[in-house]
């Protein structure tokens, strides 16, 4: 694995080499150390490429056997002979739950972040920020279990209410029964990504230069106007980045969704009826039963998930990097 030969020939004297003197260098040790660290750094690239290569390699057998169109088929009968499966429903479900979770979580998360950075007194805000960071570390299986066994009931009530009052909207059109649904999965997901988005955007908000804030206040702005004109524009790239990271996390979430989605393979915007599935949850629930082709098919869907999250994260990072150029902060 570690036989990476992509080590660039060391430049004569990089700017970082400071005052090290060229004479009588213990060449061996220095070269060895440098080579080791370079190899370690390159491992990251190797792993990313290896993920793609191995997933493609293991996915090909199922994709060639597949009797249906992988991109448009909704159902997942990968263990049949001939296998028929596609990612239409699972990929759609992945994106749908993630987007709804974001829509629910982001406004609340930004509110909490502002509350912690600009509203709450410091003595309260610091421990609360600490707790939010802790919540980001709670394993997803805990949220999943809670969502399935306890949160399920209030969401049932909410579904009933939404249907009775907003039933003319197709997304709330299902007449029930209300069990595991896209709504339940999305809300649980929203609760899970809330701490992540909060703690990232809080950090960004706290970095707002004091001059900008004070200037706004000195011009007679109310606190909210100060936040609107100084804090939010300054933090916008950071907010976008934290939202994208939250999206990345939501897209890849497995266990909580495996426990809270209804597992119905259909492209449908119905949020409250039994339904919903996602690529990751589909892999987790079907893996044990899968035969050889079935496994390979699941790996193929994992490849799609990898591609989606890779794109989302690359966009997020590109935004953060552009910002770093003129602010020099860390994100």
């Amino acid at each position: 694995m570690a036989t990476t030969t992509g080590v660039p020939s060391p430049p004569a004297a990089g700017p970082g080499e400071g005052g090290s003197l060229p004479r009588k260098r213990p060449l061996g040790a220095e070269m060895l150390f440098r080579g080791t660290t370079t190899a370690a750094g390159t491992m990251v690239l190797v792993i990313i490429v290896a993920i793609a290569v191995f997933l493609i390699w293991q996915a090909v057998p199922a994709l060639t056997d597949n009797d249906a169109n992988f991109l448009t088929e909704e159902n997942w009968y990968a263990n049949d002979n001939p296998p028929r499966f596609g990612i239409a429903a699972t990929a759609f479900g992945t994106v749908l739950t993630a987007v709804i979770a974001l829509l629910l979580a982001v406004p609340v998360a930004l509110g909490i972040a502002l509350c912690l950075s600009h509203y709450a007194p410091k003595r309260v805000a610091t421990p609360l920020g600490f707790i939010i960071d802790l919540l980001a570390a709670v394993p997803s299986v805990v949220f999943g279990l809670w969502g399935r066994d306890y949160f399920f009931e209030p969401v049932q009530g909410l579904s009933r209410f939404l249907h009775e009052n907003l039933g003319w909207l197709p997304i709330f059109g299902s007449e029930g029964p209300y069990g595991k649904s896209v709504l339940l999965g999305s809300i649980v997901l929203a609760i899970m990504i809330l701490p992540i988005v909060t703690s990232l955007s809080r950090e960004v908000f706290m970095q707002t230069p004091a001059q900008n804030e004070e200037a706004a206040l000195a011009l007679g702005a109310t606190k909210w106007e100060m936040i609107r004109t100084a804090v939010l524009p300054f933090g916008r790239p950071g907010i976008i980045a934290s939202v994208m990271l939250g999206l990345g996390r939501a897209l890849g979430e497995t266990i909580a969704l495996a426990l809270t989605l209804g597992g119905v393979y259909k492209v449908s915007f119905d949020l409250i009826g039994p339904g919903g599935t996602s690529i990751a949850a589909n892999i987790a629930t079907r893996f044990g039963e899968a035969n050889e082709v079935g496994r390979s098919a699941l790996i193929a869907s994992g490849l799609v998930l990898f591609a989606i999250t890779l794109v989302v994260n690359m966009i997020a990072r590109a935004i953060v990097y552009r910002r770093r150029e003129f602010v020099g902060g860390s994100a």
Partner: protein
């Protein structure tokens, strides 16, 4: 922006008593709240529309609107919207607190039902759906071993990678590595699991294993390493950048070679911060379920060897017990969840406390 502010407040230049802007009295929010609750109760209960939950929601909406209008009338439009924004921001906080408190409450009350010596000291071997006992000892062993091995793999690799980025890396390769470290942070855990499955379990282990795929705790540790590596690199990198350049230059001036400077001066200085980053990474990895499910497979019995046969882990145990149709399973699931959360949060809290004592970070 300033021009707009000016046109909106033409009165400011007026006489002395007008310099003091009119404010709502301090009791006003309380009064608005009371009015909102009464109105909401009348509206919701009176029409038989819904229950107390809906009343609360309607009351909250009425409160926000009412306060905004009252503030707007008395204090001016801008002050009114300021009040609305403030209320919204605080209510976002309360809104988020409710489910999180519920999770914590359920976790603690349900978790303590079965969390005893028997639970921590026995496995699920020979436990059928009709047995009340059974424990998570095998799962705790699995979690500790998998997270431990993942740490042993990742920490040296991650620190070395960060050293390359900060101290040696120049040009395209270093930039690419930095970029992809960040991108790698977002790789879903299930993809990491599938990667180790298709690389280690299906391709590498059959070579040593008479052609049979070898599910093992070690494979799970590898998958966790993939997840931990970017976090470790990233946090180490940030800590290394905080080490003052003067320290390095001082060492170079004494003729100490670069590698020795890094090992003896830069790393120890950044030490506590690096440890913090590593602990946070371990904490996150220890809670992952999906990779363990895919490549370690789970095992009801105690298996101390991470290299042969299936292993379980706490998170996988929770997931498994969540699906078992035994009346005793939920208590076991919650007790294991509590154990897991205690382990993960202990690591996190220690890491954060360590970070606070760290003089390098602000």
């Amino acid at each position: 922006m300033t021009a707009q502010v000016d046109t909106e407040r033409p009165v400011v230049i007026a006489s002395g008593d007008q310099l003091k802007a009119k404010r709502l009295p301090t009791w006003a929010p309380v009064a608005v709240a009371a009015a909102a609750i009464v109105l909401a109760a009348g509206l919701v209960m009176g029409t038989g529309w819904g229950g107390p939950v809906l009343t609360g929601v309607v009351a909250a909406v009425l409160f926000i609107v009412g306060l905004g209008v009252a503030g707007g009338v008395v204090e001016g439009r801008r002050a009114g919207s300021n009040r609305v924004a403030t209320t919204l921001i605080y209510s976002a906080f309360l809104l988020a607190l409710a489910p999180l408190l519920s999770v914590a409450f359920v976790l603690v009350t349900k978790g303590f039902e079965r969390l005893d010596g028997n639970f921590l000291g026995t496995s699920m071997k020979n436990i059928s759906a009709f047995d009340a006992n059974g424990g998570a000892y095998h799962a705790i062993i699995g979690t500790l071993e998998q997270a431990g091995i993942a740490t042993l793999i990742t920490v040296p690799l991650g620190i070395a990678g960060a050293i390359y980025i900060v101290e040696y890396g120049r040009g395209f390769l270093a930039n690419a590595i930095r970029f992809f470290v960040d991108v790698m942070t977002g790789i879903p855990s299930i993809v990491a699991g599938l990667f180790i499955l298709s690389f280690w379990v299906f391709v590498v282990t059959p070579i040593f294993n008479d052609g049979r795929p070898g599910y093992s705790g070690f494979a799970a540790a590898l998958a966790l390493s993939v997840l931990m590596l970017p976090t470790v690199v990233r946090s180490t990198e940030e800590m290394l950048r905080l080490v003052p350049g003067a320290l390095r230059e001082g060492a170079y001036a004494l003729g100490i070679p670069k590698w020795k400077t890094i090992m003896k001066i830069v790393l120890p200085t950044a030490g506590p911060g690096i440890v913090t980053g590593c602990m946070l990474a371990v904490a996150r990895a220890a809670g992952e379920t999906a990779p363990v499910l895919l490549v370690a497979g789970g095992n009801p019995a105690i298996n101390f060897s991470p290299f042969s046969d299936n292993q379980s882990s706490l998170s996988l145990y929770v997931f498994e017990q969540a699906g078992v149709a035994s009346q005793y399973a939920p208590a076991r699931a919650w007790a294991a969840a509590l154990t897991l959360v205690v382990i993960v949060l202990t690591l996190t809290v220690l890491a954060k406390l360590l970070a606070r004592r760290n003089k390098l970070a602000r």
